[in-house]
Structures are given as structure tokens and as C-alpha cells.
């Protein structure tokens, strides 16, 4: 189901770390002139921080860390603005970043045409707070041990721990990181498309036809599903309805950071930031006389409901929204939970397939008979 147009062409066994192997591949691609640029995570040692980088010179790859449990920005969001360049690019994406980008391409906010996508099985990322505190290095050894054993690493984003889509759905090249090393097979690099074969022609490593076997990650999947159950029941809090929403979102300060960092929120100007939401005084006067009190600025819950309606079925659960919330609202958990429900109505999985239409942008004939 997941790889209709993506099927294994060939694979190689990785004799080093997955991150290093991807770096070697990027180096090969840049030096051989097969790509003009690479997009990958990078370490900035002098600041003890990480960033996403667009690299054109192979010698600048030294600080690249293609596989690292840090997401400073959802790369799918960034790719949207650079993918339409005529230049050829190799991009290293986490599975949810790739899925987010697929959703944007469906909305004509990006293109796969000149991209070679590289993704990897993902153990989840650490919240930005831990990155900012410079704690990643000390957390990494335990994280890697957890991942190799198919366990859910501690301290990662709540939606990462609850993510069942940690196997990339449709990358040109997939690297297995999680779990498989432990099964004795070693990490593998899989070439899933003709594009991948063409780009990597001449890249070192003996090719085989060994297939990716998702069953080795069953333990990880089970653990994640159990975490998801736990997370979704925790967001229930004081029951559903307006009181529950007020309890969750009542302390929202209206910064709209969740919308700004959301890779899916695709509007150039959010309706809630437009003049549509500047009210005339009579609006306030009417509410005041009817209710005795109202909140300023208004529309706190409305904003979140509006965003849920707008983008929840495309939500990939990347967790950026929760990470930037200045008052610690579990935005991502609520959106992932709601998103899964709305998507399920349409048998839709965001990011599964770029050819799959967005539910509310397509009308099936049988749906039209209901009108009138």
C-alpha cells in the first residue's frame, strides 16, 4: 500500500553509521555534479546548536549531520520555497518532513521534479528546549541504544513517541536506522526509484536486492501505538466540549507561533490575522450587554478550531507547534488526535502518496447526489 510507485530497485549494506553513509552519498552527488545543492541538518559546534543548511560545496559537508534527532524547522516547509528552483537537489528529510512536503506539493506549493529525496527510519526528535540547553550530545548515546533496540527513546517530542509513521513512505532513497541494526542485518540503504538508481550510478557499495523488511520494526510499532493510546487519552482532560477546549487552550496568548511553524498551514495571510477579525465597537458592545464580559483579544478558541478545520486532515504530527508554544499547550497532541479522526473519515493518510487528492478539494460523484 505504501509504495505503489516506489519499489525496491537495489540496496547496499552500510558499513558505517547511517549519518556518515548519507554524507558520503551527498559528497559523491555534489562532487560528481549530479546535484547542484544538498539540504541536510548541520551542526554548528561554536554555538553548540544545529540548523538546516543548503550546501553547494562538498567541502562544506564536514559539519553535516544528516541523521540527528533535532528538528529546528520542518524541512518540508522550507523546501516549499526552494524546490521550484531549476537546480537539482538532494534533500535529507525525516519521514514527517517528507509527508508534510507531499501535502504542500498537492497544494502546488512545491515540486518533486528536481529533488532526490533521502529519508530514514526515525526514532523521533528532541524538543527544541533540550537543543537550546545544549543537552543533545549527552542524550544521544542512550537515544541510539533505545532506537537500535526498538524502544521509544525518552525525552523526545510527545507526538514522536506516538508516531507510527516512522518508516519513510515514499522517498527515493531510504536508510534504515531504527531497529534493524540490532537484528544483525546492519543498516541498509535502499534505492526505491529509477531516479535514485540514476543519481547514484557509480556510488560505492555492492548492490544487492535485499528488501526492506518492516517486520523487524514490529516491536517499535507496538511500542509507539501504546504511547499513542496513552497520549490521546491524556489530552481528554476534563471532558470534551467547550469546557475541555477552554481548559486546554484558555491560556493561549494568541502569538500564532503554532501556525507560523506548521509546515501544513499554507495560507500566506492567515484569516485570523486579516482585517476580517478587526471588529467594530458595536460587536464588543453587543457581546458585553449580552454576556457581561468578554475576552480581549477575542477569538482565542476560534483560532484553534479554525486551524483544525483548515489543516488537521493534512497534519503529519511533527510536533513543531507544541515546541514553539510559549505557554506549553499540548497543541500537537490535540491536532494529531483530531487530524487522525478527520483523515480517517476519508480513508486519507497525509503524505502517503502525492497522487492522492486532498479530501476537501475533490468531489466524488456519489457525494454530489446529496446536494439538493
Amino acid at each position: 500500500m505504501l509504495m505503489r510507485r516506489y519499489h525496491l530497485m537495489s540496496s547496499i549494506t552500510i558499513d558505517t553509521s547511517a549519518s556518515r553513509k548519507i554524507k558520503e552519498l551527498l559528497k559523491f552527488l555534489l562532487e560528481s555534479g549530479k546535484i547542484d545543492a544538498a539540504v541536510t541538518m548541520r551542526k554548528i559546534p561554536e554555538n553548540n546548536s544545529y540548523d538546516l543548511a543548503l550546501i553547494t560545496n562538498a567541502s562544506n559537508l564536514d559539519e553535516a549531520v544528516p541523521v540527528v534527532p533535532v528538528m529546528t524547522v520542518n524541512a518540508g516547509q522550507v523546501l516549499s520555497s526552494i524546490s521550484t528552483s531549476g537546480k537539482k537537489m538532494a534533500v535529507v528529510l525525516k519521514p514527517c518532513e517528507l509527508r508534510a512536503f507531499v501535502e504542500l506539493v498537492k497544494r502546488e506549493q512545491g515540486s518533486f521534479e528536481n529533488l532526490l529525496t533521502i529519508s530514514h527510519t526515525c526514532g523521533g526528535v528532541f524538543p527544541l528546549e533540550l537543543v537550546e540547553k545544549g543537552q543533545i550530545e549527552e542524550l544521544l548515546p542512550k537515544y541510539e541504544k533505545n532506537v537500535s533496540k526498538g524502544e521509544v527513546p525518552a525525552n523526545t517530542r510527545d507526538t514522536c513517541r506516538a508516531c507510527e509513521h516512522f518508516i519513510p513512505m515514499n522517498a527515493d532513497i531510504t536508510v534504515s536506522v531504527a531497529g534493524e541494526c540490532e537484528s544483525g542485518k546492519g543498516c541498509m540503504m535502499y534505492f526505491n526509484t529509477e531516479k535514485a538508481e540514476k543519481f547514484t550510478e557509480g556510488f560505492a557499495g555492492e548492490r544487492s536486492e535485499q528488501k526492506f523488511d518492516p517486520s523487524v520494526l514490529q516491536k517499535t510499532l507496538d511500542a509507539r501505538l501504546a504511547e499513542k493510546e496513552k497520549l490521546f487519552s491524556s489530552t481528554k482532560k476534563d471532558g470534551p466540549g467547550l469546557d475541555g477546549l477552554l481548559d486546554l487552550f484558555g491560556k493561549c496568548v494568541g502569538c500564532h507561533g503554532c501556525s507560523n511553524v506548521c509546515p501544513i498551514c499554507y495560507c500566506l495571510l492567515c484569516d485570523f490575522e486579516s482585517a476580517n477579525f478587526d471588529y467594530n465597537l458595536p460587536y464588543f458592545e453587543e457581546h458585553l450587554s449580552r454576556r457581561g464580559a468578554l475576552r480581549l483579544p477575542p477569538d482565542t478558541i476560534f483560532f484553534h478550531l479554525g486551524r483544525l478545520t483548515h489543516m488537521s486532515f493534512s497534519c503529519v504530527g511533527c510536533g513543531m507547534c507544541s515546541d514553539v508554544c510559549p505557554v506549553g499547550i499540548p497543541v500537537a497532541a490535540v491536532f494529531k488526535k483530531t487530524g487522525e479522526k478527520t483523515a480517517a473519515i476519508f480513508d486519507y493518510v497525509p503524505g502517503r502518496d502525492v497522487e492522492e487528492s486532498i479530501p476537501v478539494m475533490v468531489y466524488k460523484e456519489e457525494e454530489l447526489s446529496d446536494i439538493g
Partner: protein, 386 residues
Amino acid sequence: MTDTERKGAVLPVAKEPGDTVLDFLRMAMTKEAADAVILPMKVPSGDSYAWILMNDISLLDDAVPIVPTMPVQGAKALRSLTRKGPGNLKVIAVMRPCEIRAAMELSKLGQVHSENLILATYDCPGAVQLQKYVDDPAGGDERFSGMLKKGNPDDSAKSVCHYCENFSIFDSDIHFGYLGLSEKEVLLVPGSGKGTEFLEELGLDLKKDLSSWEKGIEEIRADRVKTRKNSFEETEIQLRDIDGLLSVFANCIGCHNCQSACPICYCRLCYFDSETAEQDPDALITAAEKRGGISLPVDRIMFHTGRMAHMSLSCVSCGQCSDACPVSIPVADVFSYVADQTQNTFEYIAGLNDGDPLPLRQFRKAELPGVHELVKDADAEVPSHE
């Protein structure tokens, strides 16, 4: 009105200054001197506050006028209410001095209409950092009550509060004074003609001499000024060169929370969020080729310097930007330091002296010959009709 002429009223003291403020508001509402008030109230989850516009007098019982933290900058609440005009309601808003100062700046930009507002302020000891408050509301309340007693912020407060000089009396319509007084009392001080008229209509006797309170405030201010100097020196060292600037903003992820939380950032659509700022993808590759690689998303430092250029003249150093930053960049310390210099250049203090126009919105005759000189210096052609 100069400080020496200032006289005020003494309010009957309730338990805490906040209770005295509430008693005053109840009296004003009962006498129908105001139609409604804007005050903070606890949110249902109990770990933060929201601005509530209320005309139901019984709701005052649950309001917290002198509030431990600052979830939404009050000027933003006033903007949402009066952006399209002053309306017919007479509303009293009780806020921190930096919130009212931001509202004054917005009023110069036509985004707040204060004609029917009575803007009230109070002696502010500082505000507990928002995240610290949300994480431990009971602890935050305790810290704030300690700050109120001392008159100075403690380490749970925002960094900018430690060196805020404008924490007390200025030209708001009315001001509640209580810090630095030896006796437990609350003074009500008018700061504008509108405020004086309002208090007189309420029948308050404005004869109280304020000198001992003013002296107390000056003592606190002296401490703040000292801290301010030290803090700015530290920031100056941090920002010594381009590497320093890069290092301060190294963890910036480009979420623009600082801008959204800022009460001054007045653009409907920020240039940096607009299509114009979206770089041509080929230009990005060219830029990357020059240096071998670039950081994504691009222009993250440019965003901060751009924002500085745009709003630092009106920056009131409220610290909301730092509180909203998900990666703890000391945005407010940097902006406050820069704002101090840009505002000094124009002898302007944001939010004070309502009459002063925004420096970049007025041109003094004396400035114009300078333009001529600049043109000459640049060796360009000077219009001949001069």
C-alpha cells in the same frame, strides 16, 4: 504637568494594593463614571490570566488588577477593542506602565483610539516570566507578592524588569502609587487633564502631597538605573561584532513569535512573512554557492535587524519577545539596548509624552539642510533651484 505640581488622593487601604484598586473600580462603576473595565482574570486551567472586558460589577471579585505575570501585552487587548474607533463605551483599563506606554505608541499609529478610555497604571515591581508562572502558578504568586513587598523584581522576573526605569508614575490618566512608602497606603495620582477631571467628578480630594512617595520611587529608580547600565554593558560586549550578533541569534528557528508577541510590531503583514521577502529559489542557490552553504530558512538575522529598524524607536522594553521565544534567545535585552540608543538619538522615550509625534513621522526644518549636505558629500548632483 510637572512632577512638582502633582497632587493626589489617598484611597482607603484594603488588604493589598490590588484590592484597593478593585474597591476604586467598584466605586467608579457604581457611580456610573465608567461603563466597563478591562482587567486580568485567571483562565479556567488556573495557570495563567486573560484580559477581560467586563461591565458586570460582580465579576470584579474574581479579577486580579495587579497581576503576577504578563500573558498578553495589554496594548494588544486595547488595540483589539479600539482599532476601528473609540466607540461609545467609557472603559477603564488597569495595566502595567509598559503596557499603557505601548498603547500610547499604537495610538500615534492610529491603531488604538483612547478617546473614551481611562488608562490606569500602577507601581510595577516587575513581572514573573510567563513560562515560569505557567509551570508553577502558586510559586509565581508567592514570588510576585514578595516582589510587591520589596518593590524590586527577583530572579523569577523578566530580565528587562530589573532595569526598567519607567515602572511608576508617568502621564497615564490615573496612577496607583504604593511602592516605596513607609506607611501602608495607596495614592491615586492623576497624570492627565482627563484623569484629573475623572477623579474630580468622582468627588476625590486631590490635595495629598506626594513628595514622600516620589522620593521612595526615586530610590528604587536609582537601583534600576545602575542595573540598566551594567546590563547594557554586558549586551554591548555580546554584540561586539557580527560573530557576536550571529551567536546571540544562533538558535533562532524563524518562528517570529517575538514579533507576534510584540505590542509595537504594527504591520498587518510583516515584510518578512510576505511574498516580497520570499527569495527566488535560484537566488538562494547562488547565495549558497558564494559561501559553500547557507542556513535555512534564510534571513533569520535579517529578520531581527529589520524588526529593530522598524520598531525600536517605539520599543517599551516590556520583554514579551523574550517570554515568547521557544529557544530562550534574550531578544528583549538586545532590543532594549538598541532601543535605548535609537530613542536617545531623537531624544524620544517611547510611550511617554503623548504629544510627541513618532520621530520618523515628522520632519523638522532643521533636519532638511542636512539632507542637502549628504547629497553633496555623496558627490551627486544637487538640484539647481536651491
